[in-house]
Amino acid sequence: MPFLKTIYLIIKKDFISEVRTLESVAATVVLALVILVICGFAFGPVFGDLEKVAAGIIWIAIAFSGTLGLSRMFGAERENGCFLGLVMSPANKGAVYLAKVITVLALLLTVEVIVLPAFAVLFDYPVFRSFWPTTLCFLLGSIGFAAVGTMMATVSSGAKRQEMLLSVILFPLMVPVLISAVRSTGQLMAGSSLADVANWVRMLVVCDMIFLVSSFIMYDLVIEE
C-alpha cells in the first residue's frame, strides 16, 4: 500500500471513531476550559500584567489537557485491539506514526480553537493581535507536542500506571517546545511582530524537525509487541 494512502486511511479511521464517540475530544476540551477557570481563580479576578502570564495559562491548559487526550486516545486504541491490528498489518510503521501525529495534532488544534476564544472572552484579552504569526506559532508548538507526545504515548501505552507515566516522561522532553511556544505566542499577543520572535520560531522548527525525524525512524521499535 502506498505510503500516503496508509496515512490517509488511518486518519480516516481515527476521525470516524472519534466523531462517533467523542471519547477523547470532549474530555480534553472540558479539562482545558476548567484549567482556564482555575487559573482565573488562582491569579485573581483583576490582573496587573496579563501579557506576562497569558501565553503561560493557555499553554498549561493545552499541555495538560492534551496529555490527557493522548493517553485516552492510545488507551482506547489498545482496549479495542486497534493497536494490535496496526502492529500486525503490513503498513509502513513510519506512516502509522505520521498518521497518529496528524490525529493528535487535530485534537490539539480543536482544543486551541475553543480555548483561545474562551480565554479572550474570560480574561478580556486580545489573543490574536496579529492573526497569522500567532497561528503559526500555535501550530508549530502543537506539532512539537504531537511529535513527542505520539511517541511517548506509544511507549507508555500498555505499561502499568500508563497515564501517570506519560506525564512524567513527556513533560521534561517537552521543555524546549514549551519554552519556545510560550515565549513566541506570548510576545506576539503582547504586540510584537514576527521578526521579534524569529529566534523562537526557529527554535520551534528545529525541535519539531528533531522530534519528528527521530521518532519517525524509531517508531517501529516501540510499536512491535
Binding site: 505499561a159 500508563q162 507515566l165 516522561i169 521534561p172 521543555v175 515565549r183 528533531i210 527521530s214
Partner: protein
C-alpha cells in the same frame, strides 16, 4: 561462602585502586589545594560538585550509547548497562543539584537560580527519573527494554535543545545573571580537581560494573525461579 563475593580479579583490584584514589582526592581537595580567597572554605565543594556533574553527564552519554548498541544488537547486556548507568547517573545528578544548592547559598546568596546550566541539569534529572519510572512500569520485558532504549536516545538528543532554549529564555528575561568566575584556577586547585574527577570517573565505572553484575544475577535468578515454578 566465598569471601570475595564472587567478584572477578580486575574488579577487586578496582576496589583497592578506587579506595586509594578517593583518599587521595580528599587529601588533595581539603589539604593540598589552597583555600580560595573570596569564598573561603565553601569553595571546597567545587571539587566534588564538578566531578559529580561530570559523572552524571558521562552516565547519560553511556545510556545513549548503550541504547543504540542494544537496539542494533538486541543483546540484553546492553540494556542492563543502560539501566545501571541511569540509576547511577540519577544518583550523581541528584548529588550535583544538592551540592550546587549548598554552594549557591553562601556564594550567590540564593539556594537556586534559573541559570541555564542549573535549569538544564534539573530538566535532565527529570528526564532520567522518567526513564527509571518507565523501567519500573514495564518490568524486564523485551518491549520495555526497547521503549527505554528509545527514551534513552531521544532524551539525550533533547539535551542540547533544552540547553539552548533555556539559555535564550534566561537572556530574554531580566534578572540576576550569574556568571561563574571560571577563568584562572590556582594551579593547586586545577590538579586537585583533576584527581577528584579521575576518582569519580573510576567510581562511576566501578559502580556500573557492580550494578550491571547484580542486575544480571537477579535476572538469571528470576529466570530460574520461573522455570522451577513451571
Amino acid at each position: 561462602m566465598r569471601r570475595d563475593a564472587g567478584l572477578s580479579k580486575p574488579v577487586r583490584i578496582l576496589h583497592v585502586l578506587e579506595f586509594v584514589l578517593v583518599c587521595l582526592a580528599l587529601y588533595m581537595a581539603f589539604i593540598y589545594a589552597p583555600i580560595e580567597k573570596e569564598q573561603g572554605i565553601v569553595q571546597k565543594i567545587f571539587y566534588f560538585h564538578v566531578a559529580a556533574a561530570w559523572n552524571a553527564f558521562l552516565a547519560f552519554f553511556l545510556i545513549f550509547v548503550a541504547s543504540i548498541v542494544y537496539l542494533a544488537s538486541r543483546r540484553g547486556v546492553w540494556d542492563v548497562v543502560a539501566r545501571a548507568s541511569c540509576e547511577i547517573g540519577v544518583m550523581f545528578c541528584t548529588a550535583t543539584l544538592l551540592m550546587g544548592s549548598l554552594w549557591a547559598r553562601p556564594a550567590w546568596n540564593v539556594w537556586w537560580t534559573w541559570d541555564a546550566r542549573l535549569t538544564t541539569t534539573l530538566v535532565l534529572w527529570f528526564i532520567y527519573v522518567g526513564y527509571l519510572v518507565l523501567r519500573s512500569a514495564t518490568g524486564d520485558s523485551e518491549k520495555g527494554a526497547r521503549a527505554a532504549a528509545v527514551l534513552g536516545i531521544i532524551g539525550f538528543i533533547d539535551v542540547p535543545i533544552v540547553f539552548f532554549s533555556v539559555r535564550w529564555w534566561r537572556t530574554m528575561h531580566t534578572g540576576i545573571i550569574v556568571g561563574r568566575s571560571g577563568g584562572g584556577l590556582a594551579p593547586g586547585m586545577g590538579l586537585a580537581l583533576m584527581v577528584s574527577v579521575t576518582a569519580f570517573t573510576l567510581l562511576f565505572v566501578h559502580l556500573v560494573i557492580l550494578r550491571t553484575g547484580s542486575m544480571r544475577l537477579s535476572r538469571a535468578a528470576t529466570g530460574i525461579w520461573m522455570s522451577v515454578r513451571r
